[in-house]
Amino acid sequence: MVFANLTFLFFFLPAVLCIYYAFPSRQVRNLILTLSSLIFYAWGEPIWVCLLIFSAIWDYFNGLWIARFINRPKLAKLGLLSSLSVNLGLLATFKYADFIVSTVNVLTGLDFRAPGILLPIGISFYTFQTISYTVDVYRGEVKAQRSLLNFMLYVVCFHQLVAGPIVRYAHVAREIEHRVFSASDFTYGISRFCQGLFKKVFIANIAGELAQNFLGKPAGEVSMLGEWFGLLMFAVQIYFDFSGYSDMAIGLGRMFGFHYHENFNYPYMSRSITDFWRRWHISLGSFFRDYVYIPLGGNRKNATRNIIIVWSLTGLWHGASWNFVIWGLYFGIILLIEKGGLLRILSKMPIAVQHTYALLLIIIGWDVFFFTDTGRLWDSLVVLTGFSSQPFYDFEVISAASSNIVWFTLATLSATPLPLRIYEKVCECGKFGIKQWIIPTTNLSLLAVSTTLLVGKTYNPFIYFRF
């Protein structure tokens, strides 16, 4: 199931909330949340829900094993290896098998048949969560969870199950066992959820359609401005889609008493690529930092090698295709250059230059990200740089830009902290009464517009489901 879906909004969510709050016992609530999460997952993935359960149980036992032998490093390591090999094995089989086979075929000239396994939803997220858990237990940073139910809840909780953020066990360990209901948390959760829903439905979906209209065509049919426009729309789509989803996850968490960490911090406001990666998909960046980069030696030993490895992996995590690896490496190289002195030079430049520099590189990155077909990617780069015979602009792009100008202005503003700041100011100003009315009214309006658009359009794919 997805959040921006009428079944979820009008049946699943209210039902789970009512049943959940009907029972005061935390254990019963954990059970309700776990079972409903499994239903949520099985709704879209009725077979591979077994894989999710298997993965959770496997790492539950690995955690216990590691904790038990924490003073006998060799035995403890065995538990860690078992966790790593099974989780990475699952990823290799279910996400990368076709990619590996086709790469081997290209390299060797052989002709192995690709197994054609369909990627189970959210596998990239939950395998990373369980890996982070066993590693943390091994490092002694968290205590192993003794209750299978509580551990299952950590892995399968529907708030962040299918599209992140990647929640660390340490962040929620206490709340799994001791969380309390707070009306202010709940109302904050409603606000975050409605904002996320609106970002997804009103901004990301529309941007997605527009992007597809231009980037979905052969490069020979798109003008130079058209290709830029399509790319810009994709940049809008991917940010609002993913951050909208994270907002909804964080909001849902709050409704049930969990405090997840932020996953985005206005990434398009970055002044450098280094800055961008501190603001974009924070839970993934910190995962690679803590579990790959630092163990490899971090800054201290072979920093360049480490950066290249980490960024190839980051790219590959996003999808089983070479363009994602190129995308990761692209950022890895830029980060190295920035580290090598560019950052210092940039910081002396006017702020506008810094923003332009960062945005331009980010957007070009999205071009690499968008085209899994490297042939079309190359054509696209040729069109973007004006080296093709395509016209500079045409009717299509002028028409699309003009008929979405109001929406686009709103979307652009929403990528900055400005609207929220104004909103908070408005809420705070005046007497007590205003805030108490304005917030629920805003939330209901956001919900109403989102529902209207959801009903009006069946086009509603979550692009982050590929990961």
Partner: protein
């Protein structure tokens, strides 16, 4: 009230209002009656799925529930209209032109259905209806309510819009389909095939297809002509959908796509195939009300001019327009409005005018595999609302027979898509018997039909989308 209690109270109210809204939405959905067919969208709505482990394992069961919920959601139509309004406020239409680019994913997901009006007379023991008969009370009742019933068994392929990738359902009508022609279906995708442009209150569909997409159909028509021999005259009547007529040059970039396609088609057809010059006739009359503003069809008037062009080709003189009795159905909002929900289109709206032949005819339609005809109508005058185009012939049937008292000694078979519906009634003024085959639904054999009824003329009447779609040729081959 102390401040902290007030805060608590307002927070709890906020929670109750939010959760209450969601619950109310869900409850209203459960309590309101569900439709099985959306006449506005011309498709059947999703039903609540039947439980089976197999359906669950395939993921279809839960997906179907989602579809059921979204298809039957409360205030669905109003919400869809509101989202159309919201869309129009997203910016400013450049030069008054709004472009609605279709989404292939969405198109393949939908289950479009042509509006098929089932005349309220369905029992075969009733006498054949004279088309001038006053509608029975039953008809009126149907007209008042929705006037339209789309039979579940009818095929649900939207080849009218030329999509090569529709998920062809396993219906009897399509099971005999032959393998797709790889030359045209895979390698040469259509451009702009689903684009709709709204300009000056009119929705215009864009046809985009390479000349090579005409190979398949022209080959089949040539085969018909050769194999039927000199005794049967074969006509081809292309029906432009208006792509060339109503858009500013800048937008078309000088491409008269339909003109190009039709010219090329004529070149591919053998010299023995008689070509009907509809394009020129309609181009001359484009300032008149020959296409609907909000629907993908032409009007009865447009079809009348095509009839004039056909009269020249078939060598009879067309009856003047005033000799027909005119009827009108107002407040028609057609498929292109439903697809775009454009407020500009709603403002223009449409009226379905039909021109009745001035004498009585006997009309029967036949379901596949049944030799007993069921009384039908030349004009289903009770058609209303989004299905008003169904006034012509009452919708699409695999086979229809129109018997007319003209005594010309001529009989014709028309192989058509839904554009043909508005055209066929005029033929009743010149042919003793008119047989109408809908290429999508007919499963019999054209050869034996011609033999059985001693038909001397065969007319292929296809609009541009249908002309370029590989499916058309496949069907024509399969039922020859």
């Amino acid at each position: 009230m102390p401040a902290d209690i007030a805060v608590k109270f307002s927070q709890r109210t906020h929670i109750l209002v939010f959760v209450g809204t969601l619950i109310t939405g869900g409850l209203l959905f459960l309590l309101t009656p569900k439709e099985s067919i959306s006449t506005d969208e011309k498709r059947s709505l999703a039903h609540f799925p039947v439980w089976s482990w197999q359906a669950v394992a395939k993921g279809e069961y839960f997906k179907s529930i989602d579809e059921y919920v979204s298809d039957n959601f409360i205030f669905r139509y109003s919400l869809t209209e509101i989202s159309g309004y919201l869309r129009s406020y997203r910016g400013i239409a450049h030069e008054g032109i709004e472009v609605f680019s279709g989404n292939p994913k969405e198109a393949s997901k939908s289950r479009p259905q042509e509006p098929t009006i089932v005349p309220p007379v369905v029992t075969s023991d009733r006498p054949v209806l004279n088309q001038e008969t006053t509608p029975s009370p039953q008809m009126n009742r149907l007209a008042e309510h929705d006037g339209v019933v789309s039979p579940k068994a009818s095929p649900t392929v939207s080849e009218e819009r030329g999509i090569a990738t529709t998920d062809v359902p396993n219906t009897a009508a399509t099971s005999s389909m032959s393998a797709p022609d790889p030359k045209v279906s895979e390698t040469e995708p259509y451009q702009n095939i689903e684009s709709i442009i709204v300009y000056q209150g009119r929705a215009v569909q864009m046809v985009g297809a390479p000349n090579s997409s005409l190979q398949a159909l022209s080959k089949v028509i040539n085969t018909y002509q050769q194999e039927l021999g000199a005794k049967v005259r074969v006509y081809f009547m292309p029906i432009p959908i208006g792509s060339d007529f109503y858009l500013p040059q800048r937008l078309k970039r000088g491409n008269e796509t339909e003109s190009r396609l039709i010219q090329h088609m004529f070149g591919l057809l053998g010299s023995e195939v008689i070509k009907v010059r509809t394009y020129e006739k309609l181009a001359e009359r484009k300032a008149e009300y020959i296409y609907f503003n909000t629907d993908h069809h032409w009007t009865g008037l447009g079809a009348y001019y095509a009839y004039q062009a056909f009269a020249e080709a078939a060598q009879f003189s067309a009856m003047p327009l005033p000799s027909f009795e005119k009827g009108s159905i107002r407040n028609f909002l057609g498929t292109l409005y439903q697809r775009t929900m454009s407020p500009a289109l709603k403002k223009t709206g449409d009226t379905v005018d039909y021109y009745k032949v001035p004498f009585s005819t006997k009309v029967k339609y036949f379901q596949n595999g049944k030799s007993d005809g069921v009384p039908g109508l030349l004009y289903a005058e009770f058609a209303r609302g989004g299905a008003a185009y169904g006034v012509f012939l009452g919708g699409d049937y695999p086979l229809m027979q129109v018997i007319s008292p003209v005594g010309s000694g001529r009989k014709i078979l028309v192989i058509k898509d839904s554009y043909g519906n508005a055209f066929v009634p005029y033929l009743a003024g010149h042919y003793d018997e008119v047989y109408v085959v809908d290429y999508r639904y007919y499963n019999g054999s054209i050869r034996s039909l011609i033999k059985k009824y001693e038909i001397g003329e065969v007319l292929f009447a296809h609009n541009s989308y249908v002309m370029v779609a590989p499916y058309t040729a496949q069907r024509a081959r399969s039922f020859f």
